[in-house]
Amino acid sequence: MVVTPMNALNIKLTRDIWRMKGQVAAIVIVIVCGIANFIMFMSNMDSLMITRENFYRDYVFADVFANLKRAPESLKERISAIPGVAAVETRIIANVKLAVDGFDEPVMARIVSLPDDGKPLLNKLYIRKGRLPDAAKDNEVLVGDTFANAHRFSLGDRFGAVINGKWKQLTIVGVGLSPEFVLQLRPGAISPDYKRYGILWMTKTTLGTAYDMKGAFNDIALTCTPHANVDDVIRKLDQIINRYGSFGAYGRKDQMSHRYLNEEFKQLEIFSFIFPAIFIAVAAFLLNVVISRTVKTQREQVAILKAFGYGNIEIGLHYVKFVVFIVILGVIGGTATGVWLGRLLGDLYMKFYRFPYLEYRLDPSIFAAAIVISLAAALAGTAHAIRMAVKLPPAEAMRPEQPARYSKAFFERAGLGRFMSQPARIIARNLQRKPVKSLLSIIGIACACATMVMSGFFKDAVDYMVYIQFTLSQREDMKVAFIEPTSARAVYSMNGIRGIEYVEGYRSVPARFRFGHRSYQTAIEGINPGSVLRHILDENLNPINIPPSGIILTDYLGRHLGIRPGDWLTVEVLEGERPVRRVAVAALAKQYMGLMGYMDASALNHLMREGNAISGVSVIVDPLHKKDIYKRLVHIPRVAGAVVVKDEIRNFYDTMAQSMLFFTFVATLMAGVITFGVVYNSARIALSERSRELSSLRVLGYTRGEISYILLGELAILTLAAIPLGFVIGRGLCSYIAEAAASDIFRIPVVIEPATYAMAAAVVMVSAAVSGLIVRHRLDHLNLVEVLKARE
């Protein structure tokens, strides 16, 4: 037998597809959404990973890092001698205040030293504009590209910096990027703020002179040989640098920029699984419905084909081709859409993650996975229907199908029957006749609703996190950090600044916590018992009274360490005398951002064996005097920097706004598509199954409206039933995302506002109504004569 591509069976297939184009299109769109999501997330994850990999390799991103107080340059040789170390770079890193003309808010920066020859061995710079600073000039600086862009700096522009209490005017000679600062986040900040935080590079001699670090260094970066044990290297490095005030050496996985990228990949991975899974499942369900119905209406055609000698495989293949055709269309459309959205998303990422360029690519294996996954799901979904066609005994199929078996609906048996009109009865019996299909339709629409709930959830969760953090917990307007611990008397001098209305000191001590074999490095904050500006919250969000002794840990940190109130925590302080103490855990505190320990301020002073020292102050300011205060702060030598809480929150929302908008847009579109796909398909199938019945009713004198009610009423019931289920599924998925995405950086609270639920319900109902209207249009044009004449 020769199968020409356009044999009669294939002609039948193309005409069948054309006749069902509406339904086919609805399914194709659902698959397009699923594949687009899959491609978008996977290709981005892949592209970002590859880009990062290449950037790290070409610009020699270090393997191990350490900061310390101060060490002599001669130490470098001992570090280089550690077995497994390939290259070492000793650096000076200075945290400074900047004064940028025309920008009256506090700006902070981190200056990283470059070797005097301008060529770092590790963490090399990608120069976007200009050149490296010249060691012979003492005022040249290279700035990070985000900072330069945010302030629209050009080469030759100047700004002031307070380095080690001394004012210095710096000139921009270049703009660049480093693998070390792909993400530039001020320590303790909740989002990148390119206006108020920058990374700068200066030569070692220049910076060393300004920072009083000549012949010394306070930061190390090193690479390991290919087969070295990085943990061993870290341990040996720690032994060498411990007595120089080290904060502990760490590998890439704890390097901030690298870690945030990893967290991002984790989220992309979760998304690349959840959203496509929903769509592909819905598509498989819709295919099942459509193919089952097609096989049923084509029973006699199948029988005839078999009577004339078509084999089971040919019949099965005929329907498989139908499915494959739809899937292929979906995969093509989905890949195109996915690449388009992927590039958009990639551009969004590039605003946060600074690579020289994003090598956006779609790996063929991702495309192949998209095909395999969607085909497998589609064929699994339709296997039963196709088997029915294959197994159909030809003699049997030749008889007209038995009338569908109905029974009295549950409501009627429950005695509610007499309240029901005949059309209502038809609806109820029909729903009950196909409980599985009705249920699956409900689940399908519920998935749409859940998608909307998820998209709204992100905003709700973020709002809630901000509310907890900045309204309930940190209530100051501005936080001012000092260069080093200072006498608590500084509070009074701060109070003297015009416009500062209220001042409270705080103490912050870097420390490593140990319990059993687990440890975590963060800081202990000392809080005054009567503090007005700082509240530590219990799990019901009520302020916890700071106990006179003992430590309060962030709940997630407690879980991470496996420690409970009453247990003894080992605290290794990483400042001053670096005491190691055992402190009882007094309570666990609810906190969504970061991990911290909290103690009574005087208990912390006692633990540090120091007087009434503070690390900085939290203040309330009179908005009228804001600018003056900022100007004053720049010139107070002991002030290391200041953060304005309102700016921080506004910046947080600004940075998120675009991605939020993007995700909400995509999610709304997707929810609409699923609802449309499910409702439209159900309606079309109901119409095909029941056009005879409905025409008969029209002949009997029922109006168009009345028969629409019978057909669409059923769908309205399914839609309404799906909404609460969608809320439940949506909430469940949100919990899953929150659980899976939780990290020490932040935990997403599972908070969903009523408005989000309402929006989800509205989108589903509107999409359902639109699909209903389209079918209603067909219903209105039902050709009575034609339908009744045709033999069912």
């Binding site: 020409t4 009669a8 002609i11 039948k12 005409r15 006749r19 078999k306 000698g309 078509y310 003699a395």
Partner: protein, 239 residues
């Protein structure tokens, strides 16, 4: 007539068919003995439910018997596998049904092509359509054809593979007198010109006059077989 000297196409012995419906068993065929000869035109009569369609379906390899034997040219169909039955239908049998059963999405010629494409020695699609007198309607879809025209396309489809046997289950059942005659003429012509053994099931006893032999079923058994001394042309039939 010299029936006895002709070759046997089907030989049916003690054929039974029981439909097991759970509580009840329906004995559709209770031990049928019958021979069908090559080139003959046989008409099968019998009251509704007597087992005509069941017998025809078993002869055509659409259904399997419960007991007894059916041999097609010496080959036992009761022992054939599903695959062998498919092959048997593909190469040797042509069916015509009461409700035409054309594929609605295919035109007249495509409905014929769907069979010629898988047969091993088919006649041209055009040829089959011209035998039933429908060359000029070849590009029409079933919905654009009258019932009689549809049935003639179905006959063209059945004969296009040059089958050994043509099995027709109430081919005129849904047609008026005039159209019925047209369809029967097409069948008679195929039988005469191609020598295809033809079995026609009908409720219309008048059609029996165009047969070589008339087989009557009652209650799942052969009640009677009569040989027509003289067979009429379909054009001479009246009812």
């Amino acid at each position: 007539m010299k029936v006895a000297m002709q070759k046997t196409v089907f030989s049916v012995r003690n054929l039974t068919k029981i439909y097991d419906m759970g509580e009840v068993q329906v004995h559709a065929l209770r031990g049928v003995d019958l021979d069908i000869y090559s080139g003959e035109m046989a008409v099968m009569l019998g009251p509704s439910g007597s087992g005509k369609s069941t017998l025809l379906n078993i002869l055509g390899g659409l259904d399997t018997a419960t007991g007894g034997e059916v041999a097609y040219k010496g080959k036992d169909l009761t022992k054939a596998t599903d695959r062998e039955l498919t092959e048997y239908r593909r190469f040797y049998v042509g069916f015509v049904f009461q409700f035409y059963n054309l594929i609605p999405s295919l035109t007249a010629s495509e409905n014929v092509a769907i069979v010629t494409e898988i047969a091993d020695k088919p006649m041209p699609v055009e040829g089959a359509l011209s035998i039933v007198g429908l060359s000029d309607r070849k590009d029409h879809f079933p919905a654009q054809l009258s019932g009689g025209e549809q049935q003639r396309v179905a006959i063209a489809r059945a004969i296009a593979k040059n089958p050994e046997v043509l099995l027709c289950d109430e081919p005129t059942g849904a047609l008026d007198f005039k159209t019925g005659i047209l369809v029967l003429e097409a069948l008679a012509r195929v039988n005469r010109e191609l020598g295809t053994a033809t079995v026609i099931i009908t409720h219309n006893a008048d059609i029996a006059a165009m047969a070589d032999r008339v087989i009557s079923l009652r209650n799942g058994l052969i009640a009677d077989v009569t040989v027509n001394a003289e067979k009429k042309l379909p054009g001479e039939l009246r009812w």
